[in-house]
């Protein structure tokens, strides 16, 4: 089977990475085992159905606290479904059904008693396309805190500044807080969306292909940001870009046809995958 140039690139990148990562492997493994004890998201036999169609099936995996977990896999494999299940954004679609357990912060989020508002403030989300509201930058970031009931201008000001600072955007736009968010560039908009998600002080940040609509420079910035944020937040990122997954994540999950094929340290997934399917995918032979 002839390789396309993209496949070649992917493969060389993956092998190159393997070399680099291997030396750090011991250190990473040690840290990982420490983190394992405080898994913040636990899926136990979790399945999700769109009517009769299977979204994801029988997923069991833990997401470590204060780390970056990447979910990779071919299109339509259920990556996004699983990610959106974590803050129940899938509820918007009619005729859906969840089975099994999905525990976030010691609470089964598909329990009937769960407070969606609290859940979604605990589990923030950044979408594929930058989607700031057609409001001012300030109002965008202050949207979450206002929902939580913060009304004082000074408090809001403080939260907005902190969030924008955390999203590495404060320096660029501190004078334009009243300008419309839609006037920003794509990369800035995405970082604004991250700042908006951070403003509700979540514990988990879900990112659904956050860089797919951005140019390489903006992508770089977002990746740097993810690197900084992971010390405070637990980040789950869905990505099609395998270099990105390799660069930013500590653990990686490979999904295929709604099933979790392999879940392990990123270095292992890319360096020495345990399953044939995974190897085929990351080397570009499949998918």
């Amino acid at each position: 089977m002839p390789m396309t140039s993209v496949q070649k690139d992917t493969k060389s990148a993956a092998t190159g990475l393997t070399m680099k990562v291997e030396s750090k492997l011991a250190l990473v493994e040690k840290k990982d085992s420490l983190n394992r004890h405080c898994a913040i998201i636990k899926a136990e036999g979790f399945s999700f159905y769109y009517g009769s169609k299977v979204g994801v099936k029988d997923i069991t995996m833990d997401v470590n606290q204060c780390s970056v977990t990447a979910i990779i896999g071919p299109s339509g494999c259920g990556k996004s479904t699983f990610l959106r299940s974590m803050n129940r954004m899938n509820d918007l679609i009619p005729h859906t059904r969840a089975e099994g357990k999905l525990i976030v912060d010691n609470q089964d989020i598909y329990d009937k008693r769960v407070n969606l508002v609290n859940l979604r403030q605990q589990v923030g989300m950044v979408f594929q396309k930058p989607n700031p509201f057609p409001k001012s930058i300030f109002d965008n970031v202050a949207y979450g805190p206002r929902l939580q009931g913060t009304k004082k201008r000074s408090e809001l000001q403080q939260i907005v500044e902190q969030s924008l600072d955390a999203a590495a955007l404060w320096k660029e736009i501190k004078d334009d807080l009243k300008k419309s968010a839609l006037a920003l560039s794509g990369g800035q908009q995405q970082r604004l969306c991250i700042a908006r998600a951070l403003a509700t002080k979540p514990r988990v940040l879900l990112m659904d292909e956050p860089c797919s609509a951005l140019d390489p420079i903006a992508t770089g910035r977002i990746e740097d940001l993810i690197e900084e944020l992971k010390s405070t937040y637990t980040i789950v990122i869905v990505t099609h870009n395998m270099q990105q997954a390799a660069r930013v994540s500590e653990r990686a999950a490979f999904f295929c046809l709604g099933e979790l094929i392999e879940y392990d340290l990123t270095s292992k997934i890319f360096g020495n995958p345990g399953k044939k399917q995974t190897e085929d995918y990351i080397t570009g032979r499949f998918g």
Binding site: N87, M89, L92, P94, L116, V117, N118, L119, R120, Q121, G124, M125, F127, K129, N131, P132, F133, P134, K135, Y143, G144, L147, Q148, K179, S180, A181, L182, A183, C193, R196, A197, T200
Partner: protein, 547 residues
């Protein structure tokens, strides 16, 4: 296909589209242009001194002293006209003379009794005056000059009689002499015709009960009851028309049997040639400007004034007020209702059969003729709902605006539905992901983003209901009536007023400028409302786009 052909097609298409746009603009210009031109005549025109008199009398507007001077100036010119007519009338209007003669005969009898003259002397004198009376009556009706002269001579023989000296009977001889003088220049055979013409001339100059004249009512006559009859030609174009009517007799004559009648104009001046009345025509014609003093007038108060006598005088102030009131009140009902319905249909309603039916019903409702809504408004609001709540069962502003709201609801719902539907799903997702409830998301994110589309709906609804006539026909519009004091009073509106003036009102036919003025006011009002909404929309749009 060859590239040359393709380019040609492209160009042809461009030209075609450009032409169609030009065509539409021309049609629009062709419709609106003449209408606005005519309608502007209600505001900008040459107003005469009569107009200023009317403004002073009816609206207490203008400078009293200046006006008084003008009236004095014009009256000096008018005086000669009055005199000419009076002089001529004496010889023609014999009925008045007959009456006078009869009166004198009666008065003379009373006078004699007062003097204590009775018996034979009394009856002798009475028989003389009776004789004179009868002779004069015959004389006044006679067409034979010889007979007239004979009769008058017979009457005058008693003039020297001492018994008539210093009594009212002396007037009889004066009348006889005067009549002789008056008819000297008149062809007696034409007297009947003159009489008819004179009525027309007087109507043209002083107005009849139906049509105001050129100069206003005759100063000797009592002031007419209707305001429109109290003034002469208030507008220069009107006075020119009346002048034409004065100078020319228009008749429809059958020139050949079986052919349609033809209009024939004959000059009155020629008809009256040689009579005392002849100088009247040229003096009116030459002095028309001095008589009426036309001046360019900008009557902007047209937009605030109330009217007199079915819009003969005055403006459309209450109509504008009523239209605005009904429109805004209607929107006040329609916008929230439409928005909530649209929100439900987009956000909550599923694709269930019932909702599909509801959508279909809404679309159908948009095509229902407006008169049906009018009847619905009458039967539901006025006849059913209001009495149910103990309110008077009559057409009123509230009922009218509610009817209009229902009329425009389908438009409002459709436009809002489209607007809400086109708000990107990502906005809603972002808000929901931040923990907002569905309602909060709708109010704080979806609604502001959908605002331009909703405003488009509002613009469409606004222009529709501001101009609707049929729905308010029975629900609360009147052609005449007081300015409403509460929402439970009926009101006048521009649309209904235009309709009313267009259908068979005799007076409104005489004031086409006011008719057009009202229609143009409606058009301008709708344009202004639209401009307002469009301005608002572009501002919202800019804010949303962040420019």
């Amino acid at each position: 296909m060859k590239i040359v052909i393709r380019n040609t097609f492209d160009k042809a298409f461009t030209i075609l589209t450009a032409l169609s746009v030009i065509f539409i603009s021309l049609v629009l210009l062709g419709i609106l242009g003449p209408m606005i031109w005519r309608g502007s005549g209600a505001v900008i025109f040459k107003g005469t001194v009569e107009f200023r008199k009317m403004q002073m009398d009816l609206f207490e507007r203008g400078n009293q002293d200046v006006l008084q001077n003008e009236i004095v100036e014009t009256d000096t010119v008018r005086k000669t006209i009055f005199e000419t007519i009076n002089r001529f009338k004496k010889g023609i209007d014999t009925e008045a003379l007959c009456d006078r003669v009869r009166d004198i005969h009666r008065e003379f009898g009373q006078e004699l009794r007062l003097k204590g003259i009775t018996g034979q002397e009394y009856s002798r004198l009475r028989s003389i005056t009776r004789d004179i009376r009868d002779k004069l009556e015959v004389t006044f009706e006679s067409q034979d000059k010889k007979e007239i002269t004979k009769n008058i001579e017979y009457v005058l023989q008693f003039k020297k009689d001492e018994r008539f000296k210093a009594t009212c009977a002396e007037e009889l001889f004066q009348i006889a002499l005067g009549f002789q003088k008056d008819i000297a220049k008149i062809d007696l055979n034409k007297r009947k015709q003159y009489e008819e013409d004179l009525i027309q001339i007087e109507q043209t100059l002083f107005g009849s009960g139906e049509i105001p004249g050129l100069l206003g009512p005759h100063p000797d006559k009592p002031l007419p009851a209707l305001a429109m009859n109290r003034f002469g030609a208030t507008r220069w174009d009107q006075s020119l028309k009346l002048l034409d009517k004065l100078l020319w007799i228009e008749e429809w004559v059958e020139k050949e049997p079986g052919k349609p009648l033809e209009k024939v104009r004959t000059s009155r001046k020629e008809k009256f040639a040689g009579t005392d009345l002849e100088p009247l025509f040229s003096s009116v014609q030459d002095n028309l400007e001095k008589i009426l003093k036309p001046r360019l007038t900008i009557y902007w108060q047209f937009f605030i004034d109330d009217n007199f006598n079915s819009h003969y005088f005055g403006g459309v102030g209450p109509e504008i007020l009523g239209t605005l009131l009904i429109t805004f009140l209607g929107m006040l009902f329609a916008v929230p209702l439409g928005l909530i319905s649209a929100a439900y249909l987009v956000e909550c309603a599923s694709d269930h059969f019932i909702f599909r039916m509801i959508r279909m019903c809404i679309n159908t409702l948009a095509g229902v003729p407006s008169i049906v809504f009018g009847l619905f408004g009458l039967s539901f609001f006025v006849l059913f709902l209001f009495p149910l709540f103990g309110m008077p069962s009559k057409g009123c502003i509230l009922a009218a605006s509610m009817t209009l709201a229902i009329l425009t609801l389908p438009v409002m719902i459709r436009a809002s539905e489209e607007a809400i539907r086109t708000v990107p799903q990502t906005y809603k997702e972002a808000s929901l992901a931040l923990g907002a409830s569905g309602f909060r998301t709708f109010v704080t994110v979806t609604l502001p983003a959908a605002l331009p589309g909703i405003l488009t709906g509002i613009i469409l609804s606004l222009s529709r209901i501001a101009g609707e006539t049929a729905p308010i026909l029975f629900a609360g519009a009147v052609a005449m009536g007081p300015i409403p004091k509460s929402l439970f009073d009926p009101t006048r509106t521009l649309s209904y007023g235009s309709y009313d003036m267009a259908v068979g009102d005799r007076i409104s036919m005489m004031v086409p400028h006011n008719q057009y003025g009202m229609v143009v006011t409606l058009v301008i009002l709708v344009l202004c409302l639209n401009a307002l909404a469009i301005g608002l929309r572009s501002r919202v749009f800019k804010r949303l786009k962040g420019h």
